[in-house]
Point group: C2
Chain length 234, copies 2
Amino acid sequence: MTAPGGTGEHGDTRGRDAGQGPARAVPPSTVARLPGYLRALHALAAEGAVLTSSDELAARSGVTSAQLRKDLSFLGSYGRRGVGYDVAHLSERVEVVLGLTTQRRVVIVGIGNLGHALANYSGFADRGFAVVGLVDADPDVVGTTVAGLTVQPFAELAGLVSGTGATIGVIATPAAGAQVVCDALVDAGVVGILTFAPRALRVPAHVDVRAVDVASELQILAFHDRRRTGTWEV
Amino acid sequence: MTAPGGTGEHGDTRGRDAGQGPARAVPPSTVARLPGYLRALHALAAEGAVLTSSDELAARSGVTSAQLRKDLSFLGSYGRRGVGYDVAHLSERVEVVLGLTTQRRVVIVGIGNLGHALANYSGFADRGFAVVGLVDADPDVVGTTVAGLTVQPFAELAGLVSGTGATIGVIATPAAGAQVVCDALVDAGVVGILTFAPRALRVPAHVDVRAVDVASELQILAFHDRRRTGTWEV
DNA sequence: TAGATTGTTAATCGATTAACAATC
DNA sequence: TAGATTGTTAATCGATTAACAATC
């Protein structure tokens, strides 16, 4: 983690040339916070800020400045002691690390209420993603136009993924169909899956899954709620 | 994302009847997995299973059996060595710990595409929550009926929360309005907030916040995607 | 220079894993 | 009993925090 003999290399703007292999391992907990830093950086840029400090950026991201500096240290040395961070430069470095310099293509499977909302969500395009395909199993939904795209039948999934070069699949189907959809996405070649279906998915090791379950989130809130509102029932 | 320093209280109200386990503080990482165990338990019950094992339940939840047993040990000793766990009994214990024996009331603020989808989501009612109010700032939306509820203006938020006894607020507004909505929810008395707005929220220590940012989730997937699809740009 | 702020170190804290004694 | 499986312990691993030397 630490470059031994680090005093030898001068910082410069290019604190780390990423020529060979993974620059350094970025811990998962750090990776998970990078999008939040990027959001804060974009907000600062929009306000016209050129420089920021770990204190300011941390406050806007909802973390401590110690944690922010620690996280950024895994990416390299892009700040200047006594001065702070250049907003534009740091944004760019974070985007490079997250792999956002190329727009990733996304297909959404399950065009119900949630799939509809996701297909129309402008935040995807703003943050590096293009929704390039929509798929649903319901014949009544297939053929309709949502967010400018024609919904395709499930049988077209593989062709859609390979034809568009999509690397990420979003599952917005009911729980019952989620594993079948997941398997089809994996077979079609996606390497990342974001699922909203309340069910654990099995995937091969080379595929990354992130799961969002809104009811689970509420249940976690309920755990604390219980302690605060004095609702104890045993 | 929990509020920094947020859930630091260890009230450790030992509100548990003796049973067979010492009441201990349940670690946050364990609490976050309990909804997944509960989902798996309900699925087993629906299939008619009466008993289960840590191996089976763990496989269905997507964790290791060691982790499952460790997690459950914080709740008490509800299994039987050499036998396994009674599905119904364990479900009930998990529900008690999560505070799901009373139905929690939820208000949703921001009735756009996402708010619509959430209001209509049957998974809430199935898993312990009742959506009791909808609020929007847009006069064109106020007064419309969504999921059987009439959308109220923002000015009615406080009255709605106190009138219904809601303890949880869901924020489905654009990022720009999220902090104002959050402050209003807190003032109105909610103790838990689930936000979908891509912005860090500031809340007092007694309020718990969980944040879901779908674009951030995709960005985290992109980090791994980059390594797998060979898209290196540095 | 004097003041400010990073990047890194070391200490602490928490979570996961592996193994097995207890016990059904 | 013999086999199965939990609940717990101890070891490992990873993440967070605090402090400060480096340096702009």
